[in-house]
């Protein structure tokens, strides 16, 4: 997949901030972001975090506040309106033209570019074949399912061979099964085209599986930029840790090579400080062991058997219950004592 990565257009945002409402609402704090050609970058965060504003600045639907600049490759496109940027855009609401059929929708960008009819027919034909939409070609939009609509919208966006592809929550309006299926299709498509893509979502699963890099945002600010692995294993703030996957938090006091917490101790081999800390660890990085030798002890509050694993809610370790996931076949009963230890390599310690 790296072979196709070098012909996309790089995107660069320089000090792009955005204020709405005559200076009253700061939607985006000054942002610098470099996206290499062919890379897929996911903007991830809760609603109102500034991810959509960032995408709209890249698209040319919003202008950054004075001082902000946007580059596509070496071209400064800051003042260029969206219709002159040669981008492809996919919307949450599909935004297909209801007065045109599938084929006319896909052909629209080519028609606007005044391409000869023969060439339009050839390219649309290719696209219909590639997206397996042969039988849908002459359907009206209201005769399509949500998944089919979003595939048409994707085809319409990429048939014009845009410099960058921008996707604004493209899967949010779909049901869970379709969402997963289309996610795979989008992933394959992006790899095959080698196009630079910016993808906005609030769904961490989508972000992890599609992004070469993820930009986690909150309150108009970037919290962390990194590969999905970085973000998951090395979150640099509580917000990122909580937003990506589920995570447990224990308050404790560091001393020597371990941290004292309410239910026992957690090894912390790299410790260089002492004092109040907060320990974060993921439910799957916990090993259950015999209560007599366990470093941590608690009581099972509830257990949820989920087939491939069991999810345990464990109390007695401070004010917040923790979550443990185990793949063993033991049945756990509410109220029973449980002993466990945390994998020392997987803990994240935030000093207070």
């Amino acid at each position: 997949m790296s072979g196709s990565r070098d012909h996309g257009t790089a995107i660069k945002l320089l000090s792009c901030a955005k204020t709405f409402g005559g200076g009253t609402v700061r939607a985006l704090e000054s942002l610098d972001l470099e996206i290499t050609g062919g890379e897929t970058v996911v903007l991830l965060g809760p609603s109102g975090c500034g991810k959509t504003t960032t995408l709209r600045i890249v698209a040319g639907l919003e202008e950054p506040d004075p001082g902000g600049r946007v580059f596509f490759g070496d071209d400064d496109v800051t003042r260029l309106p969206i219709e002159k940027r040669n981008i492809g855009m996919v919307f949450q609401s599909y935004a297909l033209f209801p007065n045109m059929n599938v084929r006319e929708n896909i052909a629209y960008g080519l028609k606007v570019r005044k391409m000869p009819k023969v060439e339009i027919d050839r390219r649309v034909g290719e696209m219909v074949e590639m997206m397996h939409m042969g039988e849908l070609e002459f359907r009206r939009i209201d005769q399509l399912s949500g998944g089919q609509r979003q595939r048409v919208a994707l085809a319409r966006a990429i048939v014009v061979r845009p410099r960058v592809l921008l996707l604004d929550e493209p899967l949010t309006a779909l049901d869970a099964i379709l969402r997963t299926r289309l996610r795979v299709e989008i992933d394959e498509l992006l790899r095959r085209l080698g196009i630079t893509a910016v993808y906005v979502t609030h769904d961490q699963g989508e972000a992890m599986s599609l992004g070469d890099r993820i930009v986690v945002m909150s309150n108009g600010k970037v919290e962390q930029i990194g590969t999905p692995r970085d973000i998951y294993y090395k979150p640099n703030s509580e917000f990122v840790a909580e937003f990506i996957g589920s995570i447990n938090r224990l308050h404790g006091i560091a001393c020597g090579d371990h941290v004292e917490v309410a239910g026992g101790t957690v090894p912390w081999l790299l410790n260089q400080s002492s004092g109040k800390v907060e320990i974060l660890f993921r439910p799957e990085n916990v090993g259950i062991c015999d209560v007599s030798v366990a470093q941590l002890k608690g009581k099972v509050v509830t257990s949820f058997f989920q087939g491939d694993r069991t999810r345990l809610i464990v109390g007695g370790l401070g004010e917040r219950d923790i979550v443990i996931e185990t793949t063993d076949r033991t049945e756990y009963i509410s109220g029973q004592d449980i002993g466990f230890q945390v994998d020392p390599d997987s803990i994240i310690v935030l000093e207070k």
Binding site: A59, N86, A95
Partner: protein
Amino acid sequence: MNRHEYRNLVILVLPTAIVCIAFFILPMAKLVMIGGSGERGLVAYLDILTKPRHFESLIATLLLSILVTVTALAVATISGLFLERNRFRGRGLLISMLTFPLAFPGVVIGFMVIMLGGRQGLVSEISKAVTGDKIVFAYSIVGLFVGYMYFSIPRVILTIMAAAEKLDPALEEAARSLGAPQWRVVLDVILPALKPGLIASGAICFATSMGAFGTAFTLATNIDVLPMTIYTEFTLNANIVGAATLSIVLGIITWTALYIARSLSGSNAVAAG
């Protein structure tokens, strides 16, 4: 359906049926009969095409109504879109002022046109002061046009604003992202989305202009629009047959326009307009 349900249905439909028969079917039938009751029977309906005064009146009314409809659609679409998309101080007041004409009967609108473009009107006073010539347009086709525009525009603006509100902004952004300049966005996205509303409110405009009487009567113009001709035939010439035939023709034209609009824009569009 069993007997019991059938009986209930009849009882429920009865009021509508009585009103419909008493005020619609019977008078219409009577009118058709009167129209055909002259010495020459139903041939009287052809008089509309052969009598120059009737024919001219029909054509003038048609042309005026079409002109008013087209102009009102153009003006109101632009203003309706503007009002829907821009938020500014006094917007609410402006919108309620624009819908004001709906509150006036034709007589008052005619009166206002006279105050604007009559012999002692505002325009004539100003033009006299500036150029020495009095510009008077109230009693010509221009006066009628102004009056009809006045009550046509609000009907369209309200419909357009309602339709524009439902328009997904992402549609326009999608068209622009594909390289469409503003005029293409209007042509390919906005107008198609407004089409049902335009057809519906256009039909209402046309029908209202065809049948408008009060304004024309107040202005006492030198152009006889159809409702005026009907009035003259009926009251002054006592030509009951002529008045009846003209009424039926006027009704058919208006009804046809509404019917076409209904079938073009979906069944509930006219009701919504």
